[in-house]
């Protein structure tokens, strides 16, 4: 299975440069991140403080890095935030319905309406999922999302009952979002990239100041904008079925800038949380016919996650020495295991 080439681990102070290189390389795809090296340093420092138990409720969060097991090169990342919106408001649109009917006119109309809301305040969030082009075909994104779930499973008390992940929305030509052009630009009077930059820098007061206070009737917007609401960028289209299999659903929240879909899950019923369990590993030679597993070992800074084939009998899992090495554990060690039926 492709994931075998990689491990996922928690970022540490030594990873600032590598993480910063991802932020720069992503060219805006990591839209929550300011482009300065100081911002990358602050993000990593948050992870370090969180691992040390020194982070408060408003800032606790972790950066997970995808690493090429052979070369040690960093090939992607994902970020976990335990509670969003506790310091500054977290905004999104909720896509609701309003029905008008008149028996006298024999009319029944169902209007889609966007409500600016803070409904997701207090949820946990996966964000800034980014994989270098070279690692995309090799299941890097799948490995990172599974790693995030297994990480959450190991520290469940830190996470909220609900976990969300925002998908990049549809862009038109010139990388412009039709939704932004029809809606956001009218309220903000700046470009989308500029607005995202301000959010990344934590200067979010302008959203309260400028965003629509009243709900927006979707049907009154230009059709190009309507069509993108709850849509997803082709780059992440492959990811959505994977996330849905793991328990994420579209629950009618969309991003305020590009109207990309927000996926939501009950944290405890996430595939990697509800269906993973801890077993003891032993060294073996499972062979090419053995089932595939998502595997995680280690606590805190020592967290490591990978994919491998293995044979499970009762509470013992037999893995090849290479997989044990990637997990940083040895025979007799404890490993969290999740069946990778589709890998």
């Amino acid at each position: 299975m492709p994931g075998e080439r990689f491990v996922v681990r928690v970022a540490t102070g030594r990873d600032v440069d590598a993480f910063h290189a991802l932020v720069i390389e992503s060219d805006g795809a990591l839209e929550r991140h300011a482009e300065s090296i100081e911002a990358s340093r602050a993000t990593i420092a948050r992870t370090v403080r969180s691992l040390a138990g020194e982070a408060g409720d408003t800032e606790r969060g972790y950066v997970l890095l995808l690493e090429d097991a052979a070369s040690g090169e960093v090939a992607g990342c994902v970020q976990l935030v335990c509670r969003i919106g506790l310091d500054q408001p977290f905004y999104d649109y909720r896509l609701g319905k309003i029905v008008h009917s008149s028996s006298r006119l024999k009319s029944w109309r169902c209007h889609d309406v966007l409500y600016l809301c803070n409904d997701l305040t207090g949820c946990s969030e996966l964000h800034s999922l980014y994989v270098r082009p070279g690692a995309r075909d090799l299941g890097g994104a799948a490995l990172l999302t599974k790693a995030a779930q297994l990480f959450i499973a190991g520290r469940l008390a830190e996470f909220a009952p609900r976990t969300i992940i925002e998908m990049h929305g549809v862009r038109g030509r010139d990388d412009a979002s039709p939704f932004w052009e029809a809606v956001g630009r009218q309220f903000f009077k700046v470009g989308q990239r500029e607005a995202e930059r301000l959010v990344a820098e934590g200067r979010k007061a302008f959203i309260a100041e400028l965003m629509p206070k009243h709900p927006v009737y979707l049907g009154l917007l230009p059709e190009a904008a309507q069509a993108t609401v709850g849509g997803i960028h082709p780059v992440v289209a492959g990811l959505v079925p994977l996330l849905e299999q793991d328990g994420f659903h579209f629950e009618n929240h969309v991003d305020i800038f590009d109207a990309g879909m927000v996926l939501e899950a009950h944290t405890r019923t996430l595939n990697g949380v509800a269906n993973s369990r801890e077993v003891v590993v032993e060294t073996g030679d499972p062979g090419a016919g053995a089932p595939s597993w998502w595997l995680a070992a280690g606590e805190g800074e020592g967290f490591r996650m990978t994919a491998a084939r293995g044979s499970l009998a009762a509470d013992h899992l037999s893995l090849g020495p290479d997989a044990l090495r990637r997990l940083g554990t040895t025979a007799g060690g404890c490993v969290r295991v999740l069946a990778a039926t589709n890998a």
Binding site: H100, S102, R109, H111, F206, L210, Y217, P222
Partner: protein, 337 residues
């Protein structure tokens, strides 16, 4: 001599003929003899009744000249009575962010009942000939004079809606962008229903949340608060009279609704109450003024040569006094040039 008086049953044929000859007549009067007949009856009833506060009365005034009908104008005592009158209020919302250096006004249309109970003046129905301006102004000023003379019958606030802009195909771009999304029926049908008395379907179908103007298509934004070319003269008259059209537009076609506080209406503000003096020397070169008697069902106004004399009386012709059914020293309401 242009004379304005309450409509009578005998005016019905002429009224129907005039309504049929003016485009989009429903704006001013229903283009339907049955409805016109009912309206005239309502008006006569209202004029004959003792009324202490405005209700669902409608008053229909007609202008005649040399015995033929020159125009008509409908005044509704209390808009929407006994229910609500619906309009869009164009809310101003200031969006300011010191951080972004942004400070701009957003506009949003809110379904409003603010105009409920206000006295509503429909645009005068006047043939499109060279006399139009004179007849329209006289009708409007006479209606205002009637309102000023009978404050117990009318509201303190007066409104005057004008029909909204249409494109070359006769379609309303505002309706296309807004109303049609909320109604399952065509524009004409919605307009017809809206003229009826039961407007409860408005609450059922119209948007309850404000509509942001800048999110609408340009064609709809451009139509907002604009009337049709053929109503531009009426637009000018209303402005002259001190009406303002800033905040309210029609929910269907986005046409402007003009507002004025009764005492601020020009013809009411400048009106003088003067004793009448028939003067044989009058009638050669003196400017026309509008003279209005102070009656109810014998209400009359005439556009006639009129001059305020140094003795504080208003001099006019015998014919004018005759038509006003007044004699010397009777007090008359004068709107002089």
């Amino acid at each position: 001599m242009l004379t304005i008086r309450p409509a009578q049953h005998s005016d019905l044929d002429a009224l129907a003929a005039t309504a049929a000859r003016v485009a989009a007549p429903d704006v001013s009067l229903p283009n339907d003899p049955k409805l016109l007949e009912r309206l005239v009856a309502q008006s006569e009833e209202a004029l004959a009744a003792d009324i202490d506060f405005p209700g669902d009365e409608q008053y229909l005034l007609v202008a005649t000249d040399k015995g033929t009908l020159a125009g008509a104008m409908l005044v509704v005592a209390a808009a929407g009575h006994p229910g609500a009158d619906y309009s869009f209020r164009n809310e101003t919302i200031i969006h300011a962010s010191p951080e972004l250096g942004v400070n701009h006004r957003m506009y949003a249309l809110t379904l409003s009942h603010d105009l409920s109970g206000f006295t509503l003046l429909r645009p005068p129905l006047v043939l499109r000939d060279e006399r139009r301006g004179v007849v329209e102004r006289a009708l409007l000023q006479a209606a205002l004079g009637f309102i000023a003379e009978h404050p117990e019958r009318f509201a303190e606030d007066l409104i005057a809606p004008l029909p909204g802009m249409v494109d070359d195909a006769g379609e309303s771009p505002f309706w296309y962008a807004v109303g049609s999304k909320f109604f399952g029926v065509a524009y004409r049908e919605a307009e017809r229903l809206a003229l009826g008395r039961d407007r409860s379907f408005m609450a059922e179908l119209m948007p309850h949340h404000p509509i942001y103007v800048p999110l609408l298509p340009d064609s709809a934004q451009n139509a907002l608060g604009q009337t049709r070319a053929e109503y531009m003269p009426t637009y000018g008259l209303l402005i002259d009279e001190g009406f303002e059209a800033e905040r309210y537009v029609d929910v269907f076609d986005g046409g402007p609704t003009f507002l004025v506080k009764r005492p601020l209406a020009h013809s009411i503000r400048i009106a003088q109450m003067l004793p009448l003096a028939v003067d044989a020397a009058i009638g050669r070169g003196e400017p026309d003024g509008l003279l209005i008697n102070r009656e109810t069902n014998r209400f009359r106004a005439v556009l006639a040569p009129a001059v305020r004399r140094p003795d504080g009386r208003v001099a006019t012709t015998a014919e004018a006094a005759n038509r006003l059914e007044l004699i010397d020293d009777d007090e008359v309401r004068c709107v002089l040039a």
